[in-house]
């Protein structure tokens, strides 16, 4: 009697619900959009900069929403600062081995980077007067270094949530080391998708958009490989997905969020002009369902 595929099946669910799903989604968008914007700033051509600015414009609101979602989700929201300052001693609270502790600091630092880059983008767009802000836009060494450090923290925010889940004792979450990698790759794909959608909505022709679209195709393919590797790495614990969550993962994430967008990448004639938009929208839907399945399925084992 009582056979369990892993010792993780005796832990209790932490009741992380919709707020955390939304946080994982918006956190992924914030970090991913900043990372892509920084990538375009550093590697792209001068005419690509409007696309980079779009990334910074998305990153700041998303990181603000992320912070709010995390705070509201706490049992005692007014004690959110206990993550950063030890409440008994008022010393900085930091545990490098606890992803949630490092993540709280990373979110704060990334928020500062996102704010400065947001303001600098406004300056470059002539919507804000802040003479020093121009230094944070390319060309120039400061802007490149700033973008790279901010991009690092952006990707950290996008990926640490997967590592956080791995550093628990819940089934699925702690039975694979690949959740952080999956979240990072997924963050890149949903961020590219959102940037493509918003860039096309603005009706202005943004150079670099095709490169971003092409890159998204590659990233989606990588995401599919990582997801399959993750499923294999679960071993016998995979049976925890032999239910409605597994179906949702297959149809909602793999078919809708990955295979259909990839097919739209290859078959440009299908929807004509709308091909790129449709692929991007599907990627966003799949990215959201991915986080939904990961968060909820492991808590209903």
């Amino acid at each position: 009697m009582n056979t369990f595929p892993s010792s993780t099946f005796f832990s209790a669910p932490p009741d992380w619900g919709w707020l955390i799903v939304l946080y994982f989604f918006f956190g992924g968008l914030a970090g991913g959009c900043y990372f892509l914007a920084a990538l375009i700033d550093v590697l792209g051509r001068p005419e690509d900069r409007p696309l980079a600015r779009l990334g910074y414009y998305i990153a700041l609101p998303c990181v603000i929403v992320s912070g709010l979602l995390l705070t509201i989700d706490l049992g005692r929201p007014l004690r959110f600062w206990h993550m950063l300052i030890e409440s008994n001693t008022f010393r900085p609270m930091f545990k490098y081995w606890s992803p949630i502790s490092v993540g709280a600091w990373a979110l704060l630092i990334f928020g500062i980077f996102a704010l400065i880059s947001f303001l600098a983008a406004l300056v470059e767009d002539d919507r804000l007067t802040w003479p020093a802000g121009r230094k944070f836009r390319p060309p120039g060494m400061l802007s490149a270094v700033f973008a790279m450090i901010g991009g690092f923290f952006g990707f950290y925010v996008a990926g640490y949530t997967g590592v956080l889940l791995a550093v628990t004792n819940r089934p699925i979450w702690s039975d694979t080391p690949l959740l952080g990698m999956l979240f990072i790759v997924s963050a890149a794909s949903i961020s590219a998708a959102l940037m493509i959608l918003l860039a096309r909505r603005s009706r202005s022709t943004m150079p670099g958009l095709l490169a971003l679209h092409r890159m998204d195709g590659w990233v989606i393919a990588l995401e599919l490989i990582v997801l399959i590797a993750l499923m294999i790495s679960l071993g016998p614990v995979f049976r925890a997905w032999l239910n409605a969550w597994g179906l949702l993962l297959f149809f909602g994430v793999i078919v809708v969020g990955m295979l259909l967008p990839l097919a739209l990448h290859w078959r440009r004639q299908w929807l004509g002009e709308r091909n790129v938009t449709a692929a991007a929208a599907l990627v966003l839907v799949g990215g959201f369902i991915l986080r939904l399945v990961i968060v909820f399925s492991a808590q209903q084992v």
Binding site: S7, F10, P13, G180
Partner: protein, 265 residues
């Protein structure tokens, strides 16, 4: 530091009276479920169901009977926080609310906890949950307030059969070992100790004498520290970032030869 203190629970002499549950609730002023409205679980005589934020002691009733119920046995076990020597909850707690006391026990400081619930998912035994009254994670404190006053915890004090014994860990371990030998000599060859040595999370300061596999009692056979995944998960995440970066490099850097027309999607 004072000598490590803890519980030794001999499940073979537990009679399922739940005096420990009541004593714990009374001393720690824990509320009843649903404001005291009785809801039957349908699971043997167990109606408090599990350990959580308002149940810091829980008596498990395991019925092992044949189909016709002519033969069988009861397994009874008073469960509680294990006060692990290497405590997963303490390890991940981001606020420093979870501390180790001078008695080597693990305590959540309710005034420091902000209810992030990371400790709940880290505990391999499913011990911790949020107490809705405080909005913070709570569990057995091994009656830290009573220990500081030189008293023994309320549950072991109330236990009428000495199934729950409190004392110095070194004393408890030797006492438990003698009891295992006694049981085995009497023919109960399945008797063994769970968590009395360092194999389980460095040792459990609340350990058990069991007569069946751990999973029968709802205990993990091989509990591990949550940080076992930290290095591998971090490296794979880093690899993911590098691969995405490379894809960006290839797509944005090497397109100088392409026609402008192609740049317009």
């Amino acid at each position: 530091m004072a000598e490590p203190m803890g519980f030794y629970t001999d499940t073979t002499v537990c009679i399922g009276c739940k005096a420990c549950e009541v004593a714990c609730k009374e001393w720690n002023q824990l509320p009843s479920t649903n404001g005291g409205v009785n809801t039957l679980s349908g699971d043997s005589y167990d109606n408090t169901r599990r350990l959580d934020g308002i149940h810091w002691r829980h008596v498990k009733f395991i019925e092992q009977f044949t189909e016709d119920r002519k033969d069988g046995r009861w397994l009874l076990m008073s469960d509680v926080c294990k006060h692990c020597v290497q405590a997963p909850c303490l390890e991940v707690c981001p606020t420093g609310a979870i501390t180790r006391t001078e008695f080597d026990t693990v305590v959540i400081q309710s005034d420091a906890c902000n209810g992030c619930r990371d400790c709940i998912s880290a505990c391999p035994f499913g011990v911790i949950e949020v107490n809705p009254a405080s909005g913070t994670a709570q569990k057995c404190t091994l009656c830290y307030d009573r220990l500081q006053a030189g008293m023994e915890p309320a549950c072991s004090k109330a236990c009428p059969t000495q199934s729950i014994q409190f004392g110095k860990i070194s004393d408890l371990r030797s006492r438990a070992q003698k009891r295992v030998e006694q049981l085995q000599q009497a023919g109960e060859k399945r008797a063994y100790l769970y968590g009395a040595d360092e194999k389980v999370l460095g040792g459990l300061n609340s350990f058990y004498l069991l007569v069946d596999k751990p999973e029968v009692y709802g205990l993990p056979p091989d509990p591990k520290m949550p940080t076992r995944n930290l290095a591998s998960a971090s490296w794979f995440s880093f690899l993911g970032a590098v691969l995405v970066g490379l894809m960006g490099l290839i797509n944005f850097r090497n397109r100088g030869a392409r026609l402008d027309a192609e740049e317009r999607p």
